[in-house]
């Protein structure tokens, strides 16, 4: 492809043909203000904040979709443009609730930043404002149309990256609203709860349902024993919520912070990540030996499970029946541990801090309850947890690291990497190899580079002592569809790992918002978070789930064998097709 050279604000830029003016400007350090644009989504061109002047063109053009051409002379900040941009943002504010002080996104809102950057210092008009009901009926996602500025990013992330298509822009002009089909409550729709709409929303039109109040009540209740767990990815991203650079893991600090806020026993989801590997690894090896049903498709991601139930009900028999680590952990807390401690399980408040919005939904699935009690009582996202720490005045980044409690706090490197796409596969391979050949992989062969990284679809064929094992690892539901379509068309796989969110759990819908200079879903950011986890794994002495001493003890003392009777009762589940049946977009809507 040939290059074009253009001048932007007097600076010369040479870029490949087909590049937009905005992208060209980015390469020479000119950041044209933008709002509806997102680098991983199709171009909407709705907000017009990015207008620039092109010499010779009759009108100002939207730089996010206008292609750069050879010899073009572009100006991005003439007085006319600055004025127009301010007017555009002011018009958005005219129809936006002025409640920044009490808004969840205060200090982290793109509209707020833009209003400041465009120089809006006073409000001149009070226009007519829309008003719609908030939808907070579901357990995971809240939709607040009053905050919506119709940039359409949520609609696009839901349709393009996730191929869920839950959201659309309905009606026209002033009456336009982003909503699910028939304005149904999100919980009654095809929404998978992944929370990527929350991640990409520039304002607070989508949020997770708050669970902090319930936790605070439980902490203050002398009758309740609060027992916590946290997902691997929380430690990889929480620093960002306190202004730290991405990529640094905080583990001991979180354990310490949990104790400071009044959690009685601090455990770790990674323990049950190891447990999941014991069960799912055994299940996989059994399926391999018995010839099916294959492939084994992972089921620890609740977004993926709901997606499969809604969009691929014919594939449900392939999902691993092993519960997710969160639900296994909750089940163990309320049975094994409660019995060991002589505590009445109904006095236990089981808290999970997760990188995920959908885990809130998972916790409400009745088939995951144990003896009539929810395995997990409340789920907080990483964001909510960070907020709680601020609320309690905890100087998080300066805490002295502490250890988790035992026995449900001990984990291996295999449990840590669950948070990155490919991690479950890698962890499972380490244990499956042991189960197949009664010996461990050599220490230098524990890393499976083939399944690491951020490529949307990674396929590999491993040579397991002469047996070919065909794997696919995907993240983001549109990528899942790519592999599933191949599978349905007769493609052969032994193992498919699906994580609903881009990047896997590190990119979950409950992670800290991208900061002022970052973009949600940015691959660099996801890679940094993932590397924090891989570094933790590499530094562990024990890197295979089956060597976790606490896991071994759990089987000896309580569960018996993997896939045994007790394990089956407490650690496995089932799935069912859901109504409304989803309609998958038949083609990429580029």
């Amino acid at each position: 492809m040939s290059d074009v050279t253009l001048t932007i604000d007097g600076v010369s830029a040479t870029v490949p043909r087909g590049t937009t003016i905005m992208q060209a400007a980015d390469t020479v350090g000119i950041r044209i203000p933008r709002l509806c644009y997102h680098p991983r989504l199709s171009i909407e061109g709705a907000c017009r904040v990015c207008v620039v002047e092109v010499e010779g063109a009759r009108n100002l053009v939207a730089s996010c979709h206008y292609p750069a051409e050879d010899g073009m002379v572009v100006r991005t900040h003439t007085p006319e443009i600055l004025q127009l941009r301010r007017d555009i943002v002011e018009l958005l504010l005219d129809n936006h609730p002025e409640d920044c002080n009490t808004c969840e996104r205060d200090g982290n809102c793109e509209l707020q930043r833009l209003a400041y950057a465009t120089g809006i210092r006073e409000r001149l008009f009070a226009g007519e404002r829309k008003h719609y009901e908030k939808d907070n009926l579901g357990p995971a996602i809240i939709r607040d149309p009053d905050k919506c500025i119709l940039c359409g990013r949520c609609v696009r992330v839901c349709g393009e990256i996730q191929e869920v298509g839950c959201l659309g822009q309905v009606n026209r002009g002033f009456k336009t609203v982003v909503m699910p089909a028939h304005d149904a409550p999100m919980v009654e729709t095809v929404c998978t709860g992944c929370g990527q709409c929350v991640n990409v929303c520039p304002t607070a039109a989508f949020l997770e349902k708050d669970a902090t109040a319930d936790l605070m009540k439980a902490i203050e209740d002398p009758e309740m024993i609060v027992v916590s767990q946290m997902a691997p990815s929380v430690r990889a991203a929480i620093g960002e919520a306190f202004g730290e650079a991405p990529g640094k893991a905080y583990e001991g600090e979180i354990y310490a912070a949990m104790r400071r806020i009044g959690v009685d026993y601090v455990f770790d989801t990674q323990f049950s990540a190891d447990l999941t590997i014991m069960e799912e690894g055994a299940e996989f090896v059994k399926k391999l030996a018995e010839g099916g049903p294959l492939p084994n498709i992972t089921s620890c991601c609740p977004t993926w499970v709901k997606y499969c139930e809604t969009f691929h009900p014919n594939l449900l028999h392939l999902l691993s029946t092993a519960k997710s680590p969160m639900s296994m952990q909750g089940a163990m807390v309320k049975t094994y541990w409660a019995e060991k401690m002589g505590i009445d399980p109904s006095r236990i408040f089981s808290l999970a801090v997760m990188c995920c919005t959908c885990k809130k939904f998972e916790a409400t699935r009745p088939e995951l309850f144990v003896n009539g009690l929810p395995a997990v009582d409340r789920v907080l996202t990483t964001r909510e947890f960070a907020w709680l720490l601020r609320n309690y005045g905890i100087d998080f980044t300066h805490l002295q690291p502490e250890e988790a409690d035992n026995p449900l706090g001990e984990s291996t490197g295999a449990g840590v990497i669950f948070g990155a796409t490919g991690g479950v596969t890698e962890a499972a391979l380490r244990t499956a190899y042991y189960l197949l050949f009664q010996k461990d992989l050599p220490a230098d062969a524990l890393n499976f580079e083939q399944v690491r990284g951020l490529k949307g679809v990674r396929e590999a064929t491993l040579d397991f002592e002469g047996t070919a094992v065909r794997l696919a690892v995907v993240h983001g539901l549109s990528n899942a569809n790519e592999v599933l379509d191949r599978l349905i068309a007769g493609g052969e796989y032994h193992w498919i790992e699906v994580m609903g969110c881009p990047g896997g759990c590190v990119g979950g819908g409950g992670q800290p918002y991208a900061g002022a200079n970052a973009v949600p879903l940015d691959e660099c950011l996801l890679a940094q978070r993932a590397s924090a986890l891989y570094n933790l794994d590499a530094a562990r002495e024990i890197r295979c789930s089956h060597h976790n001493p606490s896991i071994q003890r759990l089987y000896q003392e309580y569960l018996g064998d993997p896939l045994g009777h007790k394990a089956h009762e407490l650690l496995h589940t089932y799935y069912y097709p859901r109504v409304p049946m989803g309609v998958r977009p038949q083609e990429a809507q580029v």
Binding site: G159, C166, V170, R172, H182, V583, E587
Partner: protein
Amino acid sequence: MRYQRKTLESPEWWQSLDAYIAEQKERNRDHVQSALIPVLHHVQDTFGYIPVKAINHVAQQLGVPTAFVCGVASFYSYFSLTPKGIYTISVCLGTACYVRGSQAVLDEFCRQINCRPGESTPDGLFTVHEARCLGACGQAPVVMVNDVVYARVTPEQVPDIIAQLTAEAQAESA
């Protein structure tokens, strides 16, 4: 009394809809979404509006997310998502009609049947609408009732038109 619009809906009709969808899908193979508009027209022609069950059905058959179908059906003013009365009264507010006093005609219709523009009477008889130029400017102000054109309408004629339509409907349902 409640008036019910005669609908052409029947099991055979749904089958013919599926055939029509398949045909449109084939024709718009490169961009299925483009098949939506003709299909929605087809639905509206039968029901007089686009019912929820038809939206869901069309989405499934066409393979377009339901939320997207809702978006298209609600965007175009031609489509209606609520049932229409037996008589749809469209009062033209295009320039020619407007300068010849069509606003007063519209107001009178609204007053007589006690509805705002876009609404239907609870008995299912009338729906009143504002229209933009109906292409009959020479006869302004123009009112259309279903597909019958009323030329040079004055507010004074409105009660008569209503009475005549009501009588017609009563005769028909008797």
